[in-house]
Symmetry: D2
Subunit: 142 residues, 4 copies
């Protein structure tokens, strides 16, 4: 079975808060860094110029469940899985593992859009990207 994209990311000091832990909002930044690294692993960028505008992926919904806190300098293993590929949107999950435990799971749905001149229009996912996303949906995490 093909394995999903994974990467290691250390918790940085500026990401902690006065409770001594990784601030809950920063999980969404780390989730996004994982998504963008996955795109680069496909040879793609999440934000690409097109006809004087750019194709981007605004989020329509995102969520995170937190099971255990993470602390400064913790190494987090991030596992990226595509969970749905539609005509104009896709959904993914990022699992956060630390010291052998799953400490958080974040989920997002993003829409493929052509952006420019202050306007944002939904557009079909380009075929080359779509096939990569579908392939990533078939992976099986450990």
């Amino acid at each position: 079975m093909p394995r999903p994209f994974t990467m290691i990311r250390r918790v940085q000091f500026a990401e902690t808060d006065a409770a001594g832990i990784l601030h809950f909002a920063n999980y969404f930044r780390i989730m996004e860094e994982t998504e963008h690294a996955f795109w680069r692993s496909m040879g793609q960028s999440i934000m690409t110029p097109k006809d004087g505008k750019h194709v981007g992926w605004p989020r329509v919904a995102t969520e995170c469940e937190y099971f255990e806190p993470a602390r400064f300098e913790d190494e987090i293993e991030l596992t990226f899985v595509v969970t749905r590929v539609g005509d104009q949107s896709y959904s993914f999950e990022v699992r956060f593992d630390c010291r052998g435990k799953t400490i958080a799971i974040a989920k997002t749905t993003a829409v493929c859009c052509l952006c420019g001149d202050g306007q944002v229009c939904k557009t079909p996912i380009p075929d080359a990207i779509r096939s990569e996303l579908v392939a990533a949906m078939a992976t099986v995490p450990n």
Copy 2:
């Protein structure tokens, strides 16, 4: 009918991203700023010292739906509503309105904990806070 806590918060430049809009992860920071301002409006702080430790409210789940983007210097009206008060946790929603439209709704469940010495233990919500939270549940947004 009592009205819920509201405040106005402007989108800052450092909160925007290269797509020219308020970055999706920053909605969670603004949601939290609204929650903490609500607590101050009760005469409370979300983080209080107790017996050499502190009482805090780690999040167990959070989510946001996005309907329209926000941009640099947009004024966002934030409406805070408590949706559930349990023995050791509570849930709330923050509605983001901008130029007469609801642009996002964020939701969170947080747990009352005694934190210190690297440990986090659930603890019952103090009575004085509980009664305030219950009162805030009875408000009706516009």
Copy 3:
């Protein structure tokens, strides 16, 4: 004597770090928020569209000295003073006061630029803005 622009800004939880204090990098964000609020007080925006591009003010140098830490929910009084107005750039200082003490002073030099199509070109400061900046240079802080 005219007084400089001031505002009050509370330290937010997400801006603190595991040392329990306002993270040093966040002073620069607060400095910038003060600058942009000063511009709005002039009836201006720091970032304005022009001929399909925009006029912006990239920073060429910035610095901050820290005298005392700030903590979650501290109210900081911010005083904005223009210290130099050139043909294409200006310099300013923001003083951070908390509980009657100056806790930090931040300084920046920014350059007026026409930005667009991936290019950034220095441009003279528009006259209307220049005269406002010069007026702000003549203020005297308490």
Copy 4:
């Protein structure tokens, strides 16, 4: 000649702003990430527990000069050099290189402190760390 500590760090999307570039305040976060990675390369952590308190390194002054912008997904080569080691403080520089050019130089002075119970007291740099910092002062960047 010994070479200084270097690392590669990619510009993340959440670090860009509506001008399409790495926001100037985020250079300080990247500077700090480089410092902390240098400490780990010495087998040390910048924040260590001691007698129920912790040893930390609050900043007293920091600055950055910006020569060229950086953009989303740019790879930045970071070079860390210690420039001064005192009894209770040290100074360092981080050089930001991108596409063969130096795009920014950041400098900081930090003080060794024993922190806890809401108090921060200067303390001499421990000998083991001091000797490492002195060694790092003798490196010569390319």
